[in-house]
Subunit: 418 residues, 2 copies
């Protein structure tokens, strides 16, 4: 008997019929003797509907009140799914974030989980009850309702798995695993049977929208065995097959002796780049530039600063395209003159393409193959950033698909490992 | 400066435009310097939508989980209304039932309020913030989400007014007050400018659907000054006029020196009558009959037992028509033979018509005029029940409108008090 946490995405619970279907899937696990904690998202479209109502009233909704409204989507689903399980003759009980409770900080609309109480859940599991916990939501120290941001239910599930020391955390979604890249762009893209947390982090943060990045960080930190699998597969397939389907995300590098050098090509079109030119190069300059950006609650992705020439340096970074205007405004009014930059320039029409693979650590030549491939396609590289297991380039956004396809082919990702 | 609790019904907040309209109405009160606690219902149709989803999954939804689902409707409205108020430049903050907290018993779907904490609300009011509290919902001692049953937001508002010792509780609804009877049946029906709690209790319980009866009981018990008024009136009308519109429900009988003998004709079509015939008349028989009915959570309305003849008596009562089948089943399986009744007979095709008025106490002849009026219309009276301030009769349901019109005319209710 294992303790399993299962998360079901919005599409998986998007209608009454699908909720009943999910209940049957859960029943299969329950009847095999597993203890189950289920984290459903809101029914697909519901969170957008709620946020739409809010924006119709207040174009920039108050974050605290937006969370009050948005948190209702998951609350509806836990109740409905509990009923569906009871209808199948199972014991089930639902909890909202504040009932569990899931304690978060007070960063409304993008709160972070601090702690999860396990007392009630543990008692219910021991009584043979399937526990449903509303994803995406929590409560701060003052009792305010908070939400975790888009995809937050993934994080809820992983955090619950960590708190309960679950044997595995299954993320049921509408794709059947993690691919070498988006099959809509590269039809030859191949599903990975396993991938390391580090690779998944790079792939998730760079645009493979299978999992919320924070959930992967959480899973890595607390060593939660995480699996992404399809909620659309035949519910009657044997449990043993289902339990090994999808993509396993693991910290066990040694299980991947046959690992390919590169595991995938990630990309993100929702990026914008911003550069402050000729900034006097003195200690603390990065903080003086990015401090006000952080205070404005803007997330920064790539940051690049090259060696200074003549005592000045060009400082660049990328932000989400939706936050480009705000970031430019912050820099223009609070930073540019303060740090003595010559000019502030930005470009929202860029994209980022990344080559990711844990095998990169021990192989030379990955960077040169990447740059050569793009060069042969006539794609100009605007920025480069590397880590131990990835190489990211910023290019003009119209070249995104071309760059991804060319790199996927260059690294022979369509071929399974022998 | 007064402390005012205002409740807005589902129709009043049924769309984005109406929510904005309600916000303007609240702003008018706020700018006049009043402290305000606002209790909105769910957007009209929303509670039915949620219950519909639940029933699609579980024909008889689990009550605890149904409350989890149903409570979300009001949670959405408080958030949206708070945003609408902020959009008008006002300070506003919302609270769910568990955040306040509104402590109730654990009778899911029909919970009763035990206590309301006033600490947070009081602090916000003193800081000049308009407080929004989700109606219809609370939390039991164990932290489970509860709801108060249909119309429960009225009770939430009155309970808040009592806890905060508010100067007045305004129930904004889609009618402009309490009428002598339903104007759809009697076009000459007249709006009452004031009415006592006792009269309102009889009118509410008997089918004038303006206010949830429990809210009136609550208001009477805690001496909350209660006013029913229209949320559809011109939002730009002067506050002094709006504040005196509608119908005031008061415990101050002495303000009603000009009180008519009869204040209204109430009615209910959703009734069914049940009779156990020839029950041996011994102590405890009423309890033996109604105990199992109460255990089955069925509400009983009229109860009639006449003097026994030959040591047996006929015991009759009425229930809501929706609960008729269940009540008959309970009596048939658990009661009839146990108490030694000769037979069990029922009729779901009846209605109740009541003449209500506090002036009845000091006037003879009300009963005889009632019976004569029905007799002249050829309407047979099946059951009679009286209290100090009302006379109720059960008649065949097809006569309901005729009976109401005839009685309204007989007591000259279309004429205002001179």
């Amino acid at each position: 008997m294992s303790l399993i946490v299962q998360k079901y995405g919005g599409t998986s619970v998007g209608s009454i019929e699908r909720i009943k279907n999910v209940a049957q899937r859960i029943a299969k696990w329950s009847r095999a003797g597993h203890q189950l904690v289920i984290v459903p998202s809101a029914m697909s479209g519901e969170t957008n509907r709620l946020i739409g109502l809010a924006k119709d009233i207040q174009p920039v909704p108050d974050p605290r009140e937006l969370d009050v409204v948005a948190a209702t989507g998951e609350q509806v689903t836990i109740g409905l799914l509990a009923m569906a399980l009871m209808q199948l003759g199972l014991k089930a009980k639902s909890y909202t974030g504040h009932q569990v409770r899931v304690l978060t900080d007070s960063a409304f609309t993008k709160a972070r989980i601090i702690d999860i109480e396990e007392r009630r859940i543990r008692a219910d599991l021991q009584a043979g009850t399937i526990v449903l916990v509303a994803g995406f939501q929590g409560q701060d120290e003052l009792g305010n309702i908070t939400t975790l941001g888009r995809g937050g239910s993934d994080t809820s599930a992983v955090a619950l798995a960590a708190a309960l020391r679950a044997d595995e955390c299954l993320i049921y979604t509408d794709v059947d695993g993690v691919y070498t890249t988006d099959p809509r762009i590269v039809p030859e893209a191949r599903r990975l049977t396993s991938i390391t947390f580090e690779e998944m982090l790079e792939l998730a943060s760079l645009g493979s929208k299978v999992l919320q990045i924070r959930s992967v960080e959480f899973a890595g930190k607390y060593r939660v065995r995480l699996r992404v699998l399809s909620s659309l597969s035949d519910v009657d397939q044997p449990l043993a097959i289902e339990a090994n389907s999808g993509t396993l995300i693991t910290y066990e590098e040694d299980t991947k002796m046959e690992q390919a050098v590169i595991s995938g090509i990630a990309f993100s079109r929702d990026e914008a780049k911003i550069t402050l030119t000729r900034v006097p190069d003195r200690p603390g300059i990065a903080y003086q530039i990015l401090g006000p950006i952080a205070e404005a609650n803007l997330d920064v992705d790539m940051i690049i600063q090259n060696t200074s020439v003549d005592g000045t340096t060009d400082f660049s970074f990328t932000v989400h395209r939706n936050e480009y205007a705000k970031a430019m405004d912050v820099l223009d009014t609070k930073v540019k003159d303060h740090v003595g930059a010559q000019s502030l320039v930005g470009d929202p029409k860029i994209c980022k393409v990344s080559v990711v693979g844990i095998g990169m650590r021990s192989h030379v030549g990955i960077a040169s193959l990447t740059f050569r491939t793009l060069s042969e396609e006539g794609i100009n590289i605007q920025m480069i950033s590397t880590s131990e297991i990835k190489i990211s380039v910023v290019v003009e956004d119209k070249y995104m698909e071309l760059a991804v396809r060319a790199l996927h082919k260059a690294f022979a990702l369509e071929q399974a490992i022998a």
